[in-house]
Symmetry: D2
Subunit: 310 residues, 4 copies
């Protein structure tokens, strides 16, 4: 079905439609390197399972991956630990803000899902698996490089350092879970890995390419390599749909109707099961912390392609 659409034309239409909205939303400003990004940036890239590519705008420009990295560490952790991972983190929507600690107390240190911060820190700890942070950071970066078929992807050390210097809530969450023995590594090690993974820089082109295996049952359709099991791919997609957009996951399910994961850097990765992966980027965020123009662009795309799963 992806093949029968003229994606170049559709993408061009989407870009035209969102044009008047460029610059809307508020750029994350809790650390300077995020705050100084030009709010008018907008990029979109689509890659289909049969290798078709369509893109527009700043799709070539690297941005801070932030929470979208949680999708990839989840894939790594699932392959390492299998279902054992689910003893340490749940798979249900949280109904709370991304950094809430209330649920953690009631559920004795087990976060509700891998996409709220506490859950992502546990997943990172599972990837870390007792190693030095450098090794885990290298593994995560290399995983993304391989998936994106691009060796230039790297950590923005300024972002990583500044996240670490200001991420008090994440330290609080991590120590809280450590108190329940749901963090195996020292808090400092788990968090330096986490902050580095969130500080990876990636372009829309690279991100769509990197997520494509999730649209194809866990197998990279271009190389034919199996990245995760079919079951794990399905699991990750289900979690993206139900938990991928914090307090607005239900809203995104309605407006876009596809598994997706947003990041505070303004990026969104969206999976069209069986068809394609889509990455958008625009740094202005809406009230719940998702890219405002990015979300709008995905709505326009879905209207034109009929890709909503509903």
């Amino acid at each position: 079905m992806g093949g029968s659409l003229n994606l170049d034309e559709i993408v061009a239409d989407v870009a035209r439609e969102i044009q008047p909205h460029r610059g809307e939303g508020l750029v994350a400003d809790y650390i300077p390197p995020l705050a100084r990004v030009d709010p008018r940036r907008f990029g979109m890239a689509i890659i289909t399972c049969d290798g078709q590519v369509a893109e527009t705008g700043d799709s070539w420009m690297p941005f801070s991956i932030q929470s979208i990295s949680k999708v990839f560490t989840l894939a790594l952790a699932l392959e390492k630990l299998g279902d054992e991972l689910w003893t340490r983190v749940g798979r249900e929507p949280s109904g709370s803000r991304f950094n809430s600690i209330v649920q953690l107390e009631a559920e004795r240190g087990v976060p509700r899902n891998p996409f709220i911060n506490a859950g992502a820190i546990v997943v990172t700890d599972a990837v870390l698996a007792g190693r030095r942070p450098d090794e885990a950071i290298g593994e995560i970066r290399d995983f993304l490089r391989k998936l994106a078929a691009n060796d230039t992807i790297d950590v923005d050390k300024e972002v990583a350092t500044q996240e670490a210097a200001t991420g008090f809530r994440n330290f609080s969450l991590a120590y809280f879970m450590r108190g329940f023995e749901n963090l195996k590594a020292p808090v400092e090690d788990a968090l330096v890995t986490y902050f580095n993974q969130c500080a990876l820089r990636i372009t829309c082109q690279q991100l769509a390419r990197a997520g494509l295996f999730l649209a194809n049952g866990g197998v990279d359709p271009i190389t034919g390599e199996r990245i995760v099991s079919t079951e794990h791919a399905r699991r990750i997609n289900a979690i993206m749909l139900t938990c991928g957009h914090y307090d607005a996951s239900g809203e995104f399910a309605f407006e876009v109707g596809l598994p997706g994961k947003s990041g505070v850097g303004g990026g969104i990765l969206t999976i069209v099961p069986g068809r394609a992966a889509v990455a958008v980027w625009s740094p202005g965020l809406n009230a719940v912390g998702n890219s405002q123009v990015g979300t709008l662009a995905l709505e326009k795309l879905v209207q034109r392609t009929g890709w909503s799963i509903f």
Copy 2:
């Protein structure tokens, strides 16, 4: 795609596979008329958008619709109030148990979504719209009769009465919202309507038929009649996927991967967007209150049909 599958054969296979599991789970026992249902009952019915029907087991046998009724009152309320409904009830997963009151206090009487009890009571109040309960109960029943093309669907008055006599938590939720003026009708009126809607008896055949418009963008594909707007159909499906199974909505999204709504009577309505509606019924419930064998049957069905949206 639904047309290319041999649904009769698939349904027969599913029935064979779940055979050793019949009787598993615990039948709801909080009121006698639910408690005395035979736990070994199992039925399944599929109806496709092009009118193909496949069924098995006790698909002809009426059971208590319970929370699945929330899907239909939501459709009615959305058509009546439109987006104004969303000022009174949210659209996000709750992350709490179906009858929790904690979130209601924090969010000043506005329930998180239409499928937790508090939200469903607000939706019923919106359908009631100042009328006498009998009128609203009649409207809801007639809506189901029309959708299912079956005039025998009716309320089990014994169930309705006993729910009312024991539903203290629902009274608590309703009075709580009344205190925030998010219930317009007197509590007694809203709840008698609610308890009657939950006490409707329906078969798998009727339920699948009644839900078919949700698989077809809001238009009943058999009669061609528009039931709700395309947007509302999409909205309802999105809410079913993210919030349809209480604390196990994420799990259902993974295992089945389709919008669905379960009821404590053991029924589940599942929508295959663009293709079909499926109803299963088996009264034994799993730990989170969803039909155990029914869920299993849907998993088997999805494995065979590839209907998961992920």
Copy 3:
């Protein structure tokens, strides 16, 4: 020590000092009969264990007893049930607002203490003990009449009726506890009793006299009659000190330093263990719902008498 003070002079001084503050605070306005009370009213009455009386201002004027009634129903319930009462209600500060339902959910229908609304409803239910509401209301009224040595004390039926018509939150709390079987009577019976007890009208003179047994180890020092056991008197005083003023119990313990219980009608009953009982009334409430000028008057009184227990 009470005897060596010139209480008439002290009370006159207090009245003079609070004079510029009369009218401060906001009169409760959730029902008309409370809303129309003159905010400039102020009365104070002291009665010592050796029978000395001092009073000022509107100490002769009846006002709505409201939550102060909880002290007297607690005394009744403790004498009826003894320590069994503590299986149904706790004795610790709640740390939450007086009408919060959150703690009730976490602690399965057992309220934290007898002075938050939920706890007081349980206590009233214990006094009711399966009888008709009229009997229990009569018993509570007669108990107060006996303690105050005044047969004119009675329920303001207008207040009772209007509380019942608007007390949605109390209905919610009561149904919630009924769901946990921590309310034995039908909700309507427990609440009509509760609303009537809160609607009793009493003067400062009567209230101080009625509370005097708590200053004297459970024995009315004027008549010599034992009202409650020494242990129960001590228990009630301890609960008044730690829980008597909602969110401002700690503040009252500091500012006044005596066991006390306030009501939304503007009254406060304060116990000076071993010495006296004090009642003040001024209808304007501060931000946490306690009489603003009444609290100020008690502070002045304690400064002059040195009666703070700290």
Copy 4:
């Protein structure tokens, strides 16, 4: 009144009465130096405002002061900051466990009172006031030495180190508050100070002596030196009564009826306003974390002396 009692005899009676209970309760075992304390230890010391001393058992034996230190840092912080302190920490009972983080989230990083862990960390941060931890630790130690008139009081470095190595929840609380900018010092500095203050070793004799100023309006009655203002002494006493024993503050108010503060090392400091200070120590803890035999001894003491404020 303290003078008219034969305290030596009373203390001997109390010791005799608790004799069969020695060894009851569970010794804190989260770090080895606490776990290896002999559970049968018991000591008590009373000092009256007129200098009378009575003691029994292991009153000469140093134990870990733990949370009782919070009383003294509160005195220091109040003298330093005055009422400004109350913008950073509340003065009301928490209704939650001593280490709960739930309330902190709802109230944006402001702990409910100075005696729950979060509140005590804020108070320590206020004492620290931007200095190096060593200076603050020295100041706290010297304050206790002066109050106890004993220069041997010192920190048990083994306890301090092990608390720091295992105190994940305290790190979580501290980082949480740091995220709300309610901690001025780096978390490590605030906590090393906190862990050292809790690791001070003190005897019952020294502790009763050190707390005596709180029984005398803020002035040490032996030396005549003013330690804190009368108002601050009253404030501290009020907080000890309403918040001094975690989840059992209401129970302690009833059973003992005096301001008190317990520590997980098994000590309890109790103030008899206007009369005396009492310290007990017995390492076995009851279910809520207060010394079991120590609490019993205080009950016996109060029964004999009539010192309950109720």
